[in-house]
């Protein structure tokens, strides 16, 4: 078993694996990608191992273009610096982002609305910003990436409490209220969200209204099921496509990028590891030389 949760019914992959493989196709060769840790990073590494060997990954800690032998477990893991083209400071990397050097960024979030505005700060529940139901980590570099990078790909599990009519807190602006020129009016430089890759399908955005629409669904997923998981009246593409099942080569490349299943599998898979020796063995066996 790889990834978190069960295999998709009748398939040999999990929903999180299909999310990672679908996201990896958003990267193009020679692009510079500002990627957060976790599944987005696995998608970036996967792209480098498949169709985009020259993809340059940038970390906010100040690492540009590492060619790592193993997957990182956090953004400041020393492997994030491994084989880097340039090791520098955080403010320089954010300066380069603001200068427009970075083509694509991948973000996650706890809540998203129809205009792609993201919340990673707090779920208010019955409370408010100061005493929320759930305090989340905050922006980190997410707001900076969403503000200034060329285009943003968002990765989120499709669940009704996440896809909401109104987010409690806009941590990272998407297309704001969807009015024409809304991003430019407030002074944002970047292009904003291009895609939302979920556990059931992929959403894209109408350029004229900034509104999210269902663009692609995964095999075996029903459109009605997706409508039920979204907190607003969802627009579905008239030319709705079904994504193909991943190839075995893609699945094996993905599984070797995260050989101990520590990123895709989370806390559960840590319990299955007998210890560092097993972790080192697995990682060495799959390391890219």
């Amino acid at each position: 078993m790889h990834g978190s949760g069960e295999y998709v019914k009748g398939k040999n992959y999990t929903a999180s694996e299909l999310m990672a493989i679908t996201t990896c196709k958003e990267f193009k060769d020679w692009e510079v990608a500002f990627v957060g840790i976790g599944i987005p990073l696995v998608a970036g590494i996967l792209a480098k191992r498949l169709h985009a060997p020259n993809l340059i990954i940038v970390y906010e800690s100040g690492s540009i273009g590492p060619e790592k032998l193993r997957v990182d477990f956090n953004v400041g893991d020393s492997s994030a610096a491994d084989g880097a083209l340039c090791l520098t400071s955080e403010w320089h990397v954010f300066g380069d982002l603001q200068c427009g050097y970075y083509d694509i960024g991948v973000l996650g979030g706890a809540q998203i609305d129809r205009y792609g505005n993201l919340n990673t700060t707090a779920i208010f529940g019955e409370g408010d910003y100061h005493r929320p139901k759930v305090r989340l980590p905050g922006s980190g570099g997410g707001n900076d990436i969403g503000s200034s990078v060329g285009r943003v790909v968002i990765m989120m599990r499709l669940e009704k409490h996440r896809f909401v009519e109104k987010v409690d807190f806009i941590t990272t602006p998407g297309f704001l209220d969807g009015s024409p020129g809304a991003r430019k009016r407030v002074g944002l430089l970047g292009g904003g969200p291009a895609a939302v890759v979920t556990s059931k399908g992929v959403f894209r955005f109408r350029p004229e209204t900034g509104e999210m629409y269902l663009h692609t669904i995964y095999p075996g997923v029903d459109v009605e099921e997706i409508r039920q998981s979204v907190g607003w009246d969802l627009i579905v593409s008239e030319d709705l496509k079904v994504v193909a099942d991943p190839f075995d080569t893609e699945l094996s490349a993905l599984r070797s990028a995260d050989p101990a299943n520590l990123i895709l599998g989370g806390a559960e898979s840590r319990k299955h590891l007998s210890g560092y020796d097993q972790f080192v063995d697995l990682t060495l066996k799959h390391a890219v030389k």
């Binding site: 840790i37 976790g38 970390y59 906010e60 800690s61 100040g62 690492s63 790592k68 032998l69 193993r70 477990f73 956090n74 953004v75 400041g76 893991d77 020393s78 492997s79 610096a81 491994d82 090791l87 520098t88 400071s89 403010w91 954010f94 603001q98 700060t121 409370g127 910003y129 139901k133 759930v134 305090r135 989340l136 980590p137 905050g138 922006s139 980190g140 570099g141 997410g142 707001n143 900076d144 503000s147 200034s148 806009i170 941590t171 602006p173 809304a182 991003r183 407030v186 002074g187 944002l188 430089l189 520590l262 990123i263 989370g266 806390a267 840590r270 210890g275 560092y276 080192v280 060495l284």
Partner: protein
């Protein structure tokens, strides 16, 4: 404007200026006081956990932590009741999960309520750059259109007086103390850091007092042979403390890897208040200093992190 930057052991005698070596206990008790504002170097890697443990042992209260992105540093300090206020961008555990102690403090006031002021990482970077340049503020194009501006009145959105387009102004960060872990430093306080460097150069310059902890002490002659590696010059520095494995379970580039399993175990333990307190008893209150912490973790485990770093990092 008065130049307020003067520091770096200004009041020290000449012999103390040449030799700022002290113990971690001395450095923390000299510079980290109840109510201090403080920042930590590193970026979820090269974070000085040893200093965090010592601050907790000394029972420091009411800290204002100003920082970019932190995991253990902020979660442990909050859980131990040392923090009054957080001004920062990220307090969490990446793919491991949320910061359990931060959640308990903010959501339920356990053990104390913590005021949260949200910024982005670029904004915090600009705050320290302003501090390090002795300027009152810097401008950024981040946070525009976000609710950080709605809830944080110190972010001032103005029209750029030259082009007329909106920018966000952020005030300089000038904390009382910065604690920064370096790979190497000399007794004067020239700190050599490699790998990614976060905001360390600016944090050290912006803080009124800077404590450098390091894996190795080198001579000033060795510093001179590779001056490019010196990220922080001696005049920013008040104290130098050699603390090998100070960052464990976080990584120190070139010395040891991140112990994701140890961090995961802490995260599991800290899911309950009782679990966190028993973790503190074992790894912080139960250890009189960092050497005892290393024994408690186990030297074999620490050495395996060094081996892992050497196996994977091509330095």
């Amino acid at each position: 404007m008065v130049n307020e930057v003067a520091k770096g052991g200004d009041s020290l005698s000449s012999s103390s200026k040449a030799n700022k070596l002290m113990t971690l206990k001395e450095a923390v008790s000299s510079y980290v006081k109840d109510g201090s504002s403080i920042t930590f170097g590193g970026f979820i890697g090269r974070d000085c956990l040893a200093a965090v443990h010592e601050i907790i042992r000394q029972g420091v209260k009411d800290l204002l932590v100003i920082d970019d992105s932190k995991t253990d540093v902020i979660d442990m300090l909050v859980g131990a009741g040392c923090v009054r206020r957080w001004e920062g961008a990220y307090a969490g555990y990446g793919s491991i999960g949320l910061a359990n102690n931060v959640r308990r403090a903010v959501e339920r006031g356990i053990p104390f309520s913590v005021e949260m002021e949200d910024w982005s990482n670029a904004a915090v970077s600009m705050r320290f750059l302003a501090g390090g340049l002795n300027l009152p503020f810097m401008a950024t194009r981040s946070m525009l259109g976000s609710d950080m501006i709605k809830y944080n009145s110190r972010i001032k959105v103005i029209d750029d007086p030259y082009s007329g387009t909106p920018v966000a102004l952020v005030p300089a960060a000038r904390p009382d103390v910065a604690i920064i872990h370096a790979q190497k430093a000399d007794p004067m306080g020239n700190a050599q850091i490699w790998g990614f460097t976060g905001n360390d150069e600016n944090k050290a310059r912006a803080a009124k007092h800077t404590i450098i902890t390091c894996e190795e002490i080198i001579t000033t002659e060795q510093v001179r042979s590779q001056g490019n590696l010196t990220l922080i010059p001696f005049y920013c520095v008040d104290a130098v403390v050699q603390v090998p494995y100070a960052c464990f379970p976080q990584s120190c580039y070139g010395y040891y890897a991140y112990d994701v399993l140890f961090c995961g175990d802490y995260h599991e333990m800290s899911k309950t208040r009782e679990g966190f307190l028993s973790w503190l008893d074992r790894f912080v209150y139960g250890c009189k200093d960092h050497a005892e912490y290393c024994r408690q973790v186990g030297w074999k485990r620490l050495e395996s992190m060094t081996r892992l770093e050497r196996q994977f990092n091509r330095i």
